[in-house]
């Protein structure tokens, strides 16, 4: 069993729709949770960073963490074609250690 499970997609949505992404994990030692966006052939770009359970909002992006269920989510409101990318959930056990990536979900937002 992988430490972090993420549906690879692709997930296709029409412009303006809400994109819903999620990951599950098995190691309860994970304490820091991040979402990265990666465009084709580019390096990952940090979108959201959370430490505790609950919600965090930043513009059109909302990240949710449920440590009791070992489940994290990312919602993108009012999706745009420029949101078409691969979204990676990333977890780590401490503030300086290695990052554990999910496989990434490819999102396609159609005009």
């Amino acid at each position: 069993q992988k430490e972090v499970e993420q549906d690879p997609g692709p997930l296709s949505v029409p412009e303006g729709a809400i994109v819903s992404l999620n990951c599950t994990y098995s190691n309860s030692a994970f304490q820091y949770f991040m979402w990265y966006r990666q465009y084709s052939r580019k390096g990952p770009e940090l979108l959201m960073y959370t430490y505790s359970s609950g919600n965090k909002e930043d513009g059109r992006f909302t990240a949710q963490v449920d440590k009791s269920s070992k489940y994290i989510s990312l919602f993108i409101r009012d999706s745009q074609p420029s949101d078409s990318a691969t979204y990676l959930c990333v977890l780590t056990t401490d503030s300086w250690g290695k990052l554990q990536f999910g496989a990434g979900t490819q999102v396609v937002v159609t005009p």
Binding site: Y32, Y36, P44, L46, Y49, L88, W96, L99, A103
Partner: protein, 112 residues
């Protein structure tokens, strides 16, 4: 702020050869980590350097080695290249204060 910079951007090598990839961290960052990303997969942790020492290592063979310089820049060396080493190699830097890691654009290595 230039962010994390990596060089070269693309590289083609022959099986059995050796390769060196370079990374300059974001200003103010002292920790550099290297990741390997195969096509269609998430990045896999290779190792991390802090204070010029390898602090943590992932499940990669000894053919993968690295170095960090006093100015915090870093190199990744891979010896005896295999076809399976073809991947995007990513460098990430972070500060002493938190887990937020910033990635470079990567070096795409093709082994033929």
């Amino acid at each position: 702020d230039a962010g994390v910079t990596q060089s070269p951007t693309h590289l083609i090598k022959t099986r059995g050869q050796q390769v060196t990839l370079r990374c300059s961290p974001k200003s103010g960052h002292d920790t550099v980590s290297w990741y390997q990303q195969a096509l269609g997969q998430g990045p896999q942790f290779i190792f991390q350097y802090y204070e010029e020492e390898e602090r943590q290592r992932g499940n990669f063979p000894d053919r993968f080695s690295g170095h960090q310089f006093p100015n915090y820049s870093s190199e990744l060396n891979v010896n005896a290249l295999l076809l399976g080493d073809s991947a995007l190699y990513l460098c990430a830097s972070s500060s002493p204060r938190g887990a937020e890691a910033f990635f470079g654009q990567g070096t795409r290595l093709t082994v033929v």
